[in-house]
């Protein structure tokens, strides 16, 4: 027989309280009517679907929202992305996204990432990293595309 009590860590490294809290009470969830950028991301492997939309005014993100459905990690990460980037200038937003990805993919430092640090535990679950970076990859892809078209 397999005993759960012996093997499950008391403090859950993956499903941290703050992650579950964002999952059950997502911030910035919904549609953004006045968006200046919109991007869709899908993970065909697991069927996760996500839309991210934001509005840029005076070089800053003045509104951001996400919609879609997926696992707790992808949804909590999208919620945390919106919270972390709302109000930031575009350079800072790109920098946070890059550092967040580095935290998961290269086990880079999480200094200054605030609540996003709670997703650090995902790095120990290789198959779930793609869930955590889904929204972030979509954001970075869109930012890169915008940068190319606006030299």
């Amino acid at each position: 027989m397999v005993g759960f009590s012996n093997t499950t860590p008391v403090e859950d490294d993956l499903y941290r309280e703050i992650v579950l809290e964002h999952y059950s009470h997502p911030r910035h969830r919904g549609e953004l009517e006045t968006a200046s950028s919109r991007v869709d991301a899908t993970n065909p492997l697991c069927g996760d679907e996500l839309s991210l939309a934001w509005r840029v005014e005076g070089g800053r993100i003045s509104g951001i929202a996400f919609s879609g459905r997926g696992c707790s990690i992808s949804m909590a990460s999208a919620s945390m992305l919106c919270e972390a980037l709302d109000g930031q200038d575009m350079a800072t937003a790109a920098d946070i996204a890059a550092r967040f990805r580095s935290m998961l993919l290269d086990k880079g430092p999480s200094d200054g990432l605030g609540d996003l640090e709670a997703l650090r535990g995902v790095a120990a679950y290789p198959v779930r990293i793609k869930c955590a970076v889904l929204a972030w990859n979509a954001l970075l892809q869109e930012l890169a595309g915008t940068a190319e078209t606006e030299p």
Binding site: M1, T7, L45, D48, G70, C71
Partner: protein, 414 residues
């Protein structure tokens, strides 16, 4: 309370045949409940493949040397052994890479080449992408109509809808024998009768049935049947298409190359006899030998006994899931209508979260859309968790799953 189940098979002895079952995963004994994706392999299969390469390896159907002859004998003996397993004539048994390639063969060489614009192909809402996408491709190319028999809420097919669709201009019904998501065992007798009465041929995706219950193509009265070696203790990379001689002889080749020809000039070629006409290039001889060993292994234990064992496990699985509560089970609850593959959702918890929590204690289940996106849309869920059994599964493993799901509910406060 769930009564302890009696194991009709000597499962402890069977498990000793499967070395991988001794593994620990994340510090816990492996609880492998993903046999619908692929089964584990017994030593006799692993050894048969190794021994073939150690003692008999040569290319087949070529040259005159003794070793080549030995390899050819092993390959053709394997064909007869696998044909016997499904009560079929070996002349209609074509080796492919897997079920998917077998169905693509029928789609490309039969549906696309031999049906006429306006003819209809009928599938069902529960099909695996491998029994849907090839027909979509063929339909687009040949101007065919594609229709799907509706699914009822209990996870069985709507037979009124089947009756409506299995009429002219339907020329082909392609249907799964046992759903890889719902576990539903379809009423092939009725479907085949309706299809044949309408002048349509019947193609059966038997990937989930041939490994788990006795299947006879003569009794099914179907025209094509496809399955994979790796879901029945055999190696990956070997699959089977069995077909009646009439369509098979008339169908043009699927792929061109060595082995499938009789005579070749720079401009034209003529084709070898079936089944060789559909086996272009060097085949996976070792995997055929391994699959034949798998047939021996399963027959020694007995498919009827395996099926009964899985029915008992499925009953326990359904009982455990019901006892835990807040679990939506997809597919029929009637054990006479289903096999040992059960999909479910735990509250609103995503299947990947369920899968991750179970994996932490060594429990392997499938989480996702199971290559059945139209079925997921029909069920109204993005993904499901699926637990599936086989001859080596124990009642204790079902109970371990139950404990794991209780942990899922605790973490996600379901």
């Amino acid at each position: 309370m769930i009564e302890p189940a009696l194991a009709p098979l000597d499962v402890a002895r069977i498990r000793a045949d499967f070395p991988i079952l001794e593994r620990k995963i994340n510090g816990a004994p492996l609880v492998y409940l993903d046999s619908a994706a692929t089964t584990q392999k017994p030593n006799v299969v692993i050894d048969a493949i190794g021994n073939y390469y150690r003692t008999s390896n040569a290319n087949v159907h070529r040259g005159v040397h003794s070793l080549g002859n030995e390899a050819t004998d092993a390959f053709e003996l394997g064909r007869r052994r696998v044909a016997q397993f499904i009560d079929a004539d070996p002349a209609g048994l074509v080796f492919t890479r897997n079920t998917t390639e077998a169905l693509n063969l029928v789609a490309a060489s039969y549906a696309r080449e031999m049906l006429q614009p306006g003819d209809r192909i009928v599938v069902t809402e529960m099909e695996h992408h491998s029994n849907l996408v090839p027909w979509q491709l063929a339909s687009e190319r040949a101007g065919l109509e594609l229709a799907a028999i509706r699914l009822q809420d209990d996870g069985t097919l709507d037979m009124d809808d089947a009756e409506r669709l299995l009429k002219p201009p339907t020329r082909l019904l392609s249907v799964t024998h046992q759903s890889n998501v719902l576990g539903t065992v379809n009423d092939l007798a009725t479907l085949t009768r309706l299809a044949h009465a309408a002048g349509a041929l019947v193609c059966v995706d038997a990937a989930q049935s041939v490994p788990h219950r006795p299947v006879s193509v003569r009794q099914l009265d179907c025209d094509f049947l496809a399955f994979s070696g790796h879901k029945m203790c055999g190696p990956m990379g070997i699959g089977v298409l069995w077909a009646r001689p009439e369509p098979l002889n008339a169908m043009p080749p699927f792929q061109g190359g060595g082995s499938m020809i009789l005579r070749v000039t720079l401009q034209h070629s003529s084709w070898n006899d079936v089944p060789h006409k559909f086996e272009a290039g060097t085949p996976d001889v070792a995997s055929v030998v391994g699959l034949a060993a798998a047939c021996d292994y399963i027959d020694n234990i007995g498919l009827t006994a395996i099926c009964e064992h899985e029915t008992r496990l499925t009953k326990r699985l359904l009982d455990v899931l019901t006892t835990i509560g807040d679990i939506d089970i997809h597919g029929p609850l009637d054990l006479t209508q289903r096999g040992g593959c059960v999909s479910f959702n735990v509250g609103n918890v995503h299947a990947h979260d369920v899968g991750t929590i179970l994996d932490r204690t060594g429990i392997a289940v499938r989480a996702g859309h199971h290559c059945c996106q139209p079925l997921m849309q029909r069920l109204g869920v993005p993904a499901t968790t699926r637990a599936s059994t086989y001859l080596y599964t124990t009642p204790n493993e079902i109970d371990a799953l139950g404990e794991g799901l209780a942990e899922v509910k605790r973490v996600f406060r379901v």
